[in-house]
Amino acid sequence: MNAVIIDKLKARFGEQSIRVSEFRGELTLVVPKDHIVGICRFLKEDAELKFDLLADVCGIDMNTAEKRFGVIYNLYSLSNKFRLRLKTFTEEEDPKVPTVTGVWGTANWHERETFDMFGIVFEGHPDLRRVYMPEEFEHYPLRKDFPLMGIPGSIPLPKNK
């Protein structure tokens, strides 16, 4: 299954665009963010692969100077019983990744969560609002430079009269 996926993607999107790594049978592909929507749509709609379930979308802060933020897509193919992990990276200044809500509707809230925690903007998302933190909160708590105990006073409490 691994070889089939890699061959198909390389034939369609070119050799250079995909970086492959495998650990204990788990396949991970690192792809450029410009291709992410095309690759996702191909993986979902290909008659043989049929990655019809987007199990999760999450973010990662690599804390490096370039390509600091990453988005990780965990896919599952129900008919093949096969899992695949896609990764794409974006720069620290103005981090933007195209949305995959057009491919899987599930991506909507997962991408909102990733935006809430990391501040990665998903371009074309229909409703990119915070999920967990209050609307007026100005920071992104899962970034490496955010202190664990938060920033005092950043979330107002009701007054104890």
Binding site: Y132, M133, P134, P141, F146, P147, L148, M149, G150, I151, I155, L157, P158, K159, N160
Partner: protein, 179 residues
Amino acid sequence: MGLEHALGDSFLTTKIDLAINWCRKNSLWPMPMGISCCAIEMMAFAGPRFDVARFGSEVFRFSPRQSDVMIVAGTTTFKMAKVVRKIYDQMPDPKWVIAMGACTSSGGMYRTYSVVQGIDQFLPVDVYVAGCPPRPDNLLNALIKLQEKVQRGESKGSFPAFVGEPKLNQPQALPIISG
């Protein structure tokens, strides 16, 4: 007493404060603010095994306007704090608050940016209950401690006129119940 002597054995005279507080303490209707897992123990506390009806608090009111004591049972996040305070503000005086469990009293194991490190930052708490979660009998103990406070006419949050005049020169120590 002259009046009791005149009226015979079937009468008892007392101060109106004491009588009102006695009535209040034996009918403390809880507002169940069950936010997380402590709420399961709070349900056991209300159920037949531990049976809070023995202490007159079996009427769990899901309307703040009909309740006397709010049992905050669970991890209170900053986002939830506004809701908890709003419900507390809707309760009529006199009112009391029990902070149930480690998370509610101090943030507990959630030492993190999203959890309020103790609800006493935005609510006047009368009794704290330790435990994670506390056993239902520990919550019963808290209710009994609260009944003692009610009988003395003490409340952290109520307007003084509703619970009797505040006793001056007496520091009001908060009862802390060990687990």
